[in-house]
């Protein structure tokens, strides 16, 4: 059984004929070649595959690609370019918010949604928001610092 889908990823339209069992994470990585989205646990625990669908963060390993038909997707490749990092990516670089980099795409996409939906007034709130994303380098301290820095810049008080 094959099904036709059309999705917009990072502003570009893609058409594909896929099996309904194909995971959205595998569609992004294998079908259209965007390997920025990482696949860790494939059961929703590690958060590495987090992307934005219609503006909301979701686990791409926990959704079927066929369900993304007609949707607007943003992956880590859509946040910025090496020459023009977005504000969050810039602070990840400044604060050394990444070590091996495996969890980074998921951390960035999760943080994009957290910044939109929560005041993130305390580090505790940031940590709770990141509790669904695992960093096996245990580099959480600097990830929290990077997000704190974006919140401070946004609130007009430089950290």
């Amino acid at each position: 059984m094959k099904m036709d889908i059309g999705v917009t990823v990072n502003g570009r339209k893609y058409q594909a004929s896929i099996e309904p069992r194909l995971l959205l994470s595998d569609f992004l990585r294998d079908t259209i070649g965007l390997t920025g989205t990482h696949v860790g646990c494939e059961h929703g625990v590690c958060g590495a595959c987090t992307i934005l669908v219609n503006g909301d963060s979701i686990r791409s390993c926990l959704t079927l690609a066929v369900r993304a038909d007609g949707m607007d997707i943003v992956t880590v490749e859509g946040l910025g370019t090496p020459d023009h990092l977005n504000a969050l990516q810039t602070e990840f670089r400044e604060k050394h918010g990444l070590q091996c980099g495996f969890c980074t795409p998921g951390m960035l996409m999760t943080a994009m949604d957290l910044l939109k939906k929560y005041p993130l007034a305390s580090d505790e709130e940031i940590r709770e928001g990141l509790s669904g994303n695992l960093c096996r380098c245990t580099g959480y301290q600097n990830i929290v610092a990077a997000i704190r820095s974006v919140v401070s810049l946004r609130n007009g008080s430089a950290s």
Partner: protein
């Protein structure tokens, strides 16, 4: 770690979905938000021949006040409940519990109908349905019926639905006379399934408790309303009732040991959470800030 092959249908009406799942003869699975089903498919712990996806059925996602209840469509996402003013005003215990439901990316996709149908004994929404005495509305080939939440959950991961029935709406009665409430939960990692959790709400008249509502989860194979503890609170009038209440709740439950903690630990935990919840609910009921 990839799903086995299946046929996929995404009907445009509840009636067509019921027909599709009935036609699968017990070898089909309903897909709502997929946040419990997808891991099972990825692990191949579930290998249905047909997936019936509800996502294209219109009018299944809503939150509405109707008389003394809040009606919630089965495809309403956890995040919709978390950020709803209507929920915050009418179902404060639900509002307090929602941030504990998994993580934001899961709440953006998971649905109330899916969570109830999955019937995890340590999940918040089944416990909230039991706490509020919700009516779970389902449709099958032989028509519609309302199932009281306490009858819906049979055991761990098992509900009382016939194979052709689909949850389409849940009605939560508003506890209008209860001015004090609290929700307490402890999990190994914020957002993980609860080790134990309790919800309490109180109606107080002239310094005495005249009505109470108590439900717990994580301490049995289904969420449970503790009527014995509710009865014990009636007529009580002092905030130090907390210790007594904790003892009663502890005596009401007989949890089991598992990979995370021992039965004894869980029992002590639910007692401690009960004391804390009572104090918060009492403080709110007498009009102070907790």
């Amino acid at each position: 770690m990839k799903p086995a092959a299946f046929d996929y249908v995404a009907p445009n009406s509840l009636e067509a979905a019921v027909e599709a799942i009935a036609a699968a003869n017990g070898d089909g699975k309903i897909l709502a938000g997929g946040q419990s089903l997808m891991p099972l498919l990825n692990f191949r712990m579930a290998r249905p021949s047909v997936i019936v996806d509800l996502m294209h059925i219109p009018d299944m996602s809503f939150i509405e006040r109707r008389d003394d209840a809040v009606a919630i469509g089965a495809l309403t996402r956890h995040a919709d409940l978390e950020f709803s003013d209507l929920i915050a005003q009418n179902l404060p215990v639900m509002a307090a519990a929602m941030p504990h439901v998994a993580h934001l990316a899961i709440r953006n996709k998971g649905t109330i109908g899916g969570s109830l149908s999955h019937a995890d004994p340590a999940a918040e929404l089944p416990m909230l349905a039991v706490f509020y005495g919700a009516a779970i509305k389902v449709q099958g080939t032989s028509g519609r019926r309302d199932i009281p939440a306490e009858d819906f959950f049979v055991s761990a991961l098992t509900n009382c639905l016939d194979p052709d029935e689909i949850v389409f709406e849940i009605d939560f009665p508003v506890l209008t006379s209860h001015a004090g409430w609290a929700f307490e939960e402890v999990a190994r990692r914020f957002g993980d399934f609860a080790l134990a959790s309790i919800a309490v709400s109180l109606e107080i008249l002239d310094g005495r408790i005249v009505d109470a509502r108590v439900a717990v989860m994580g301490v049995a194979d289904t969420p449970r309303r503790l009527r014995e503890a509710e009865d014990a609170l009636r007529g009580e009038g002092e905030p130090k009732t907390a210790a007594k209440f904790g003892k009663i709740v502890r005596a009401c439950v007989s949890p089991e040991s598992d990979i995370h903690v021992s039965a004894e630990y869980r029992k002590n935990l639910i007692g401690a959470l009960a004391e804390r919840a009572f104090t918060t609910a009492w403080t709110r009921a007498v009009g102070a800030k907790p």
